[in-house]
Amino acid sequence: MLLASQTSRRKFLLSSLIALPAMGVSVKGLSAAIAADMVAPSLETYKPVFFDAAEWAFIMAACDCLIPGGGRGPGALDTNVPVFVDQQLAGDLGSEIYLEGPFDLKAPATLGYQLPYRPQQVHRNGIKAAQAWCQQAHGANFAALDAAAKTDALKNLQAGKVDFTAFGEEVVGSKFFFGELLALVKQGYLADPIYGGNKGMKAWIAIGFPGARASYLEWVAQHNVKYPLGPVSLSGERG
């Protein structure tokens, strides 16, 4: 299923909601959020558009470590964050970047992004090098590592301790790759569900953000009173 544009996702949601009664599911009595949650793609059956199967396994496992399930608040897998990551990379993410050369890969950090890649290439190359390092260090792909080894691997990437050049990646560094992936994962967790993550607005409910309600004339002057209403989303879900 291809959800690369907002329109196709809306159409998908609508057609699925309409199909609910035919599937023997009663919409009556369900909140819109629960209904939308039910028709959002399940991670198990989602067919990634951008990632191949091996990359997808890495992304699923990495998301699960970066924002784990259990404890307080939902995890990245509970909220379809991998779907968001895949949808963004399958879309126009990075088309805004100025990519004319020459490129100075050794530029000071204060001068910002200077790589010749769009994010798609950063993630593809980063995953490939990270997997190669996991194979060398542990004899297995990232997703097959135990929990402690996964956390350790991510910490090494984050600290830039994994030398990607040893695995043929001369442009993307491990620290940079980790930072880009983490930012995208957090964005997917906290963005409107229309982009594929934050399924059922669960992340917003957990932190107390009302989403797209966007009207607080009656509330702005009520100081230090917890806002009582749950979130709404761009497509009209209510939590």
Binding site: E96, V185, I207, F209, W219
Partner: protein, 589 residues
């Protein structure tokens, strides 16, 4: 691709943001045939309709209504000896594009500079010893008096439905406003916005410490407003989506809400979108322009003949078009000669984030301009000379948005994993910021020119910025940090974290400050030190006028929009009253 020539107009206006729309309506109302050319897309009511703008990812993260770096990149270097590199992604600033320009996505803080700010050179000469200020500083006065510009500030306040407390009415200091503001000819059109919890806490603490806080003057209107052009602006509903967003409630004064409804109904006004102006075309003698050439969406090169050319695009774009079109002599920082590109300035900010476990700030319930600030630390109002620094800051607690992707967490919170998740649950909505927004002086080595290497999609050289922090600005940061620390201690949070520039800091283009880039084609009294005269008219090509932040000789601590709007109205009046009767230089050298 073809070469097309349009019908001639009296005035062609490049860019349809604040400056372009104000200039267009003022000159169209005088009966002139006006055509605006906007490089970006059209933006109408449908683009602002609820719930579309309530989308942090699209507007706040992906910069949906900003120009892309692909189309609008600049190059940056820290000093004359470095090789500049392009801004491949936006960071320190994010310029807009499209109809409405930056006026569509601005936050709406409409504060005036002070009378001292506009005569900073005069103040510096009086208050500082010769040689006391940093080497290479090129501070200049604005070439008009407070009494001359104030009526235009007043008019722009009314165009925007400025909401807030009056501090100085015709010389009388009024309680609740800014006692340091220059005298106003009339009070604020509308009362202040509601305070949020953080802004009322900040104001109380600041007042206790002897400062003079007042509500951020706001162009998110507090009550329904009908402005002098007959346009209606709706009362703000504190939606929480403002800075970087189009207003979903039509409550933010913007070219769309404040000007364009009336302007578009005028038969002598027209506009083209996806019209990217490539150059101003001059007559063979180089003394007047004959029109502009733009690339349209189909890739055609279109010549637009005009009797008057107004460059009203963003500061960068105006300066670049002057350089590309050879309007005025390019600045050379080595010899100190030339004027186009001279006196580029940015600004700095800094903030302390205060965390309170037991307070609900409801940060999403806010207007863009919501905040309280004080102006006690602005030029002439504190002992800058004793500290050896010139400039100042507004110190404020603002609450421009509460969207979650940009949530701040206490120091020591894990960046990911269960610890990060717990941090989000525990601390979202439980913090507030106290920030500084500072002035920035101009220096001999800080300037704009054309990059020798990098080109835009139309094959033209990018604009190059040469800029870095100087000790004056860095010492100012450290001084302000201590003031904010005192207020922080007065408020007694559970914890706080600080983000200020150290004395060894270099300009970091990855960290957002504000899109308040100024200078490069400044206004002044002498063609040796300014590209424009006091009416924003090019000293060299008299039918070219250049309203915008480019005209500021240095950056004051106030937000720029009040001055940009006022300058535009002031220049429009000079064109109507003087230039049309007698086209030629309005100031003789």
């Amino acid at each position: 691709m073809a070469n097309i020539t349009n019908d001639e107009v009296d005035v062609v206006v490049v860019g349809l943001g604040w400056a372009g729309s104000l200039m267009s309506i003022e000159l169209a109302q005088a009966g002139l045939k006006v055509r605006a050319l906007e490089r970006g897309e059209d933006r109408n009511k449908a683009d602002s309709a609820y719930p579309k703008p309530a989308d942090e990812y699209a507007y706040g993260v992906r910069n949906k209504i900003m120009v892309t770096p692909r189309d609008g990149a600049l190059t940056v270097r820290h000093n004359l000896n470095d090789t500049a590199l392009p801004t491949r992604q936006w960071g320190a600033f994010v310029p807009g594009t499209g109809v409405g320009g930056s006026g569509l996505h601005w936050t709406g803080v409409l504060i005036r500079p002070t009378p001292t700010d506009i005569k900073l050179k005069t103040y510096a000469d009086q208050a500082y010893k010769p040689g006391q200020l940093g080497e290479g500083m090129q501070v200049q006065d604005f070439p008009f008096t407070w009494e001359e510009i104030e009526p235009y500030m007043d008019r722009f306040d009314k165009i925007c439905g400025l909401s807030g407390n009056t501090g100085n009415l015709q010389g009388r200091i009024l309680e609740g406003g800014d006692p340091f503001e220059g005298p106003r000819s009339s009070p604020f059109p509308l009362p202040a916005l509601e305070d949020t919890l953080n802004t009322s806490m900040f104001a109380e603490a600041a007042r206790k410490l002897g400062y003079h806080p007042f509500p951020n003057p706001s162009a998110n209107v507090s009550r329904a407003w009908t402005n002098p052009y007959g346009n209606q602006i709706a009362p703000c509903n504190y939606c929480g989506y403002c800075s970087k967003y189009p207003c979903l409630n039509f409550s933010k004064a913007s070219p769309q809400t404040a000007v364009l409804d009336s302007l578009k109904r005028m038969e002598n006004f027209s506009y083209r979108t996806h019209a990217n102006v490539l150059r101003v075309d001059l007559h063979p003698d180089g003394k007047t322009a004959r029109g502009v050439t733009y690339a349209d969406a189909q890739g055609n090169e279109v010549f637009q003949p005009a009797k008057i050319v107004v460059l009203a695009a963003f500061q960068f774009v105006n300066v670049r078009l002057m350089l590309l079109s050879k309007i005025g002599p390019a600045y050379d920082p080595v010899s100190g000669t030339g004027t186009v590109g001279r006196n580029y300035a940015f600004l700095s900010n800094g903030a302390t984030t205060l965390f309170f476990k037991d307070k609900n700030f409801n940060p999403f319930a806010t207007a863009g301009a919501t905040g309280q600030m004080f102006n006690d630390v602005s030029p002439g109002n504190f002992d800058g000379p004793a500290l050896g620094i010139i400039g100042g800051a507004k110190i404020h607690s603002s609450q421009s948005t509460g969207t979650p992707i940009s949530t701040s967490l206490p120091a020591g919170t894990a960046g990911w994993g269960q610890g990060w998740k717990d941090g989000m649950v525990d601390w979202y909505g439980h913090s507030m910021k106290i920030g500084i927004t500072t002035s920035c002086m101009s220096y001999r080595g800080h300037y704009l020119d054309l990059d020798p290497t990098y080109k835009d999609p139309w094959g033209l050289p990018l604009l190059r910025i040469t800029f870095d922090w100087k000790q004056n600005e860095l010492k100012l940061q450290q001084y302000l940090r201590k003031i904010v620390l005192n207020i922080t201690q007065e408020l007694g949070p559970d914890s706080y974290s600080e983000g200020y520039l150290g004395l060894d800091a270099h300009w970091d283009i990855t960290k957002y400050v504000s899109t308040h880039n100024v200078g490069g084609a400044v206004m002044g009294d002498s063609p040796k030190t300014s590209a424009l005269n006091r009416y924003l008219q090019s000293w060299d090509v008299h039918n070219v006028f250049v309203p915008g932040g480019n005209a500021f000789p240095q950056n004051f601590q106030a937000n720029p929009t009040s001055m940009i709007g006022s300058l535009t109205l002031w220049a429009a009046q000079a064109i109507k009253d003087q230039y049309l009767k007698n086209p030629g230089p309005l100031v003789s050298v």
